[in-house]
Assembly symmetry: C3
Homo-oligomer: 204 residues x 3
């Protein structure tokens, strides 16, 4: 279950990274590097924080192969996607939801405190996207104006809460993923966002 | 002592990160993400280098809560700070001094060589600020023209030297922090900096 | 052998980082920070992935001293280098080839899977340069249009293949380094690169 969800999230993030690489007019390898980094970056960050050496996403070939395959597919097929850009944002939301819950669950399995598990889940969900945006020299999406980190924290929180309440295993993963993804999608489609800094007659 | 100093440095760095987030017109979450990342980023980097899993700054809630509280305070109160920007630079200098010495002391407690302890102290002091500047897509302050890394290296060196000479425990921390912070403040107020590359009739 | 190659790669990368720092008009410390980070960044990334704490490049002073010495040399002597910029690109190619093979060999010595060893070799070869480009706020060279990651992957693959086929120890390192460096140099001098994304009447 954890492994399958992990691959789904990897594929979604890799496709989002490769799409941005195509938009930036990178060549074949550049597109694949951004796609693979985005796909496996969150998992590598999680494993570094938890002390899993070498990181699972490098040590098991399916993660890399899935990330590479989806990057290549985007490279070849992107002209057909044109108006499918929204599909990528939805896949990205799915990947975020998946990684928030699998990250938190993995942290709990490594005996992290519940507090650390929530933060590590959120970092796993966010890490790949931040690496992507830093690589292509953009200010990370995470910092822009729609809910991104809030759903990630909520998904991780649900996994930890279900574990503390001893809800049988896969329900926390399912509930956390669904709720985090749905909240992010709702924020995207309805333009929800958080308030800006207050302004009281300020210049600059 | 180490823990208290760590929280002081976290608060100072978080406030500096949140201020830059406000200046970049990020929303509530963006400001908090930059603030928290800046506040706990140096400590996470230190723990990754020393193999402390999961990193202390994630595993203990006070660090996160302090970083979040100071980010929120800056978000809400920044219009009152206007001319207090220099206060932030001074707090940043204090955070740098604190993290240089606590980073070096933590490295020594983990049996790092004295050589590695100096470098890890400096990386701890510098790491949060570099993460902050990379997140908001600016060239790191560290690379700009005033003394930044020199005081950090000096503070870490003092901790290591006091340890080698068997000076009783907290004096190295106190002396290193005070001297590193004072040197950075002096550099800021007096415009000290290091020489630029020599130019002998060079174009470009 | 591994240690000597490591120092050669460190020196080459440090010189390339310092040259970019000079080009960006940083001061003495900025140039040294970029140079040292580029020189030892790949090795630190490798050791973080493999769980070597503290990282070898921080724990052994020769790496740091070599990186610092070559950064200082570039800072002082760059006006004499003017037309020697191509020398830097060739040194960078050498550093990439060296780190790809030593990274893969180190990963194998730490019982990484052959699959992980190839990826870790490539990440070691690429890591320092990516850190350099992120620090100076440029889109990483890795993503630009000439073969960069392909030679790194090939060099690491050769080390792993020779190990699997039980070829006596240093031959894999030598063959991998020579072939990776030669391929990168050929790509640079002949303008080889990989195809761009297909375009079928696409706007934007």
């Amino acid at each position: 279950m954890l492994t399958t969800l992990d691959l789904i999230g990897t594929a979604a993030f890799a496709a989002s990274g490769a799409s941005i690489g195509v938009y930036k007019r990178l060549d074949l390898f550049g597109v694949c590097v951004v796609g693979v980094t985005t796909g496996i970056g969150g998992g590598i960050t999680r494993d570094l924080l938890l002390g899993v050496h070498p990181p699972t996403a490098l040590d098991r070939w399916p993660n890399f192969v899935v990330a590479l395959a989806f990057s290549l597919a985007v490279f070849l097929l992107h002209p057909l996607m044109g108006h499918v850009q929204s599909v990528v944002l939805w896949l990205d939301a799915l990947g975020m939801g998946v990684f928030a819950t699998t990250g938190a669950a993995t942290a709990l399995h490594h005996d992290a405190e519940w507090w650390a598990a929530i933060l590590i889940g959120a970092i796993t969900a966010i890490g790949g996207g931040v690496l992507r945006d830093v690589l292509v020299n953009e200010m990370p999406l995470l910092l822009h104006r729609d809910l991104y980190a809030t759903p990630a924290l909520l998904g991780a929180l649900i996994v930890v809460a279900f574990e503390l309440w001893s809800v049988p295993y896969p329900w926390g993963l399912v509930a956390g993923t669904v709720i985090a993804t749905a909240l992010r999608m709702a924020a995207l489609t309805r333009g929800w966002n958080l308030p800006s800094p207050p302004q009281w007659g300020r210049t600059s």
